[in-house]
Symmetry: D2
């Protein structure tokens, strides 16, 4: 469905990371960014939005940081492990925070349940790339 | 693989668009944003980067506009058809421009060939949602 | 305060636009993106957030589209008037929509009053560049 | 010129950070994101672009991470110090890396000289907020 793996395989020079781990993490970041954007909006449309403002804020932060981490990981030219590591650490942290908050609303709101799962998956994918650096 | 459809199905209120078309277009935008980011970087690593600067610029514009269009389409609360339409028109335009330029390099660079296809697909997905508004 | 003008003056080739109009519009886009991000968050912290969900959504759309328009305008290499025009039209539209909604809450919320003014200024700056293309 | 301070003053609840430091850091992030976007494009237009690909990549990473850090700092509702800290650390790191690379080209390219200064300023602003957390 996505072309992250195809684009990594088409990269014309060496890549300083495991290509499979990298592709999986890029896909996880991009998917998590979309899910968090949608979850923030779904929370906004709930009748009890007042109780979901902390969740919306963490969704927005998570969407932004995941999207950017997916972009940083998509660039291999002029590779700098310090930038990759710092991005992955921020992404892992925000996925943990957002996953924790969404999980608290998982039984009431399907969008929070799905989003929590996606955040957990993205956190794990970031940790795997971090371990491989 | 992605959760765009799941998140649309979990949206708790009505959506003023065809949910299937919408999910497909969100996925196309998000995938195109990633492919264009990767293509810009792959172009940067080519020995003949001097001849690819126009391609890199259109990749960067396309990555940015596709990413934002995917976000706008992921929000349904407070729906405003004018914003959706203007975003889709900009996205369709940049996908056309970027697809045209990448296509010129398709026989030499696999990343441009793949990226051109992804841009064509995203342009088509945007046009389909535009027609349905 | 910002370096948009300095960076335009340091651009080593010709620019196919009025440099002063361009710098002003980049600054307006970047500032509007920040104001809208902050306004969405301030709305989230209001006790009457339920009545502000449409405003938050338009703030988020406006923040995203203004940010990307500022980026598109910051690139001159491989200039394509079609992309610039489509971006500016989307940005002008979303600034109008967001300015209209924020204005409705201007007497109650200072953040909406300021944000409406910033949106109006950004819409005008976009229109001025559009007229000059 | 920018409205970061006005928007912070209009925030209706308490903010868990020094408002002045915060406003300065938001402005620095937003300005650095724009300068790096412009520097990447100016590098692309140089005749010796082949020698600037590492600089362009770090410009693109820095633009993305600074922009997102400015957004994270613009949100106070549902404040989570862990997210703020991780974002600021990533931003500080990428500003250091990008500032170092741009500085190497400062004597040849004005855009790199200006961009290096802006990166240094943003790194410092991030460190100041980090120290105050």
């Amino acid at each position: 469905m996505t072309h992250a793996t195809d684009m990594i395989e088409a990269y014309p020079k060496d890549i300083n990371n495991d290509r499979e781990l990298l592709a999986r993490c890029i896909e996880a970041c991009v998917d998590c960014a979309q899910a968090c954007t949608a979850c923030a909006d779904a929370c906004l449309s709930e009748d009890m939005v007042q109780g979901l403002t902390k969740c919306i804020r963490s969704n927005l932060d998570c969407a932004d940081i995941c999207a950017v981490t997916g972009r940083v990981l998509s660039r291999h030219t002029g590779y700098d492990a310090n930038i990759t590591r710092a991005s992955l650490q921020a992404c892992s942290q925000v996925c943990k925070s957002c996953g924790d908050i969404c999980e608290q609303h998982a039984s009431k709101h399907d969008h929070c349940r799905i989003c929590a799962e996606v955040c957990r998956g993205c956190e794990k994918a970031c940790q795997e790339v971090l371990s491989s650096l």
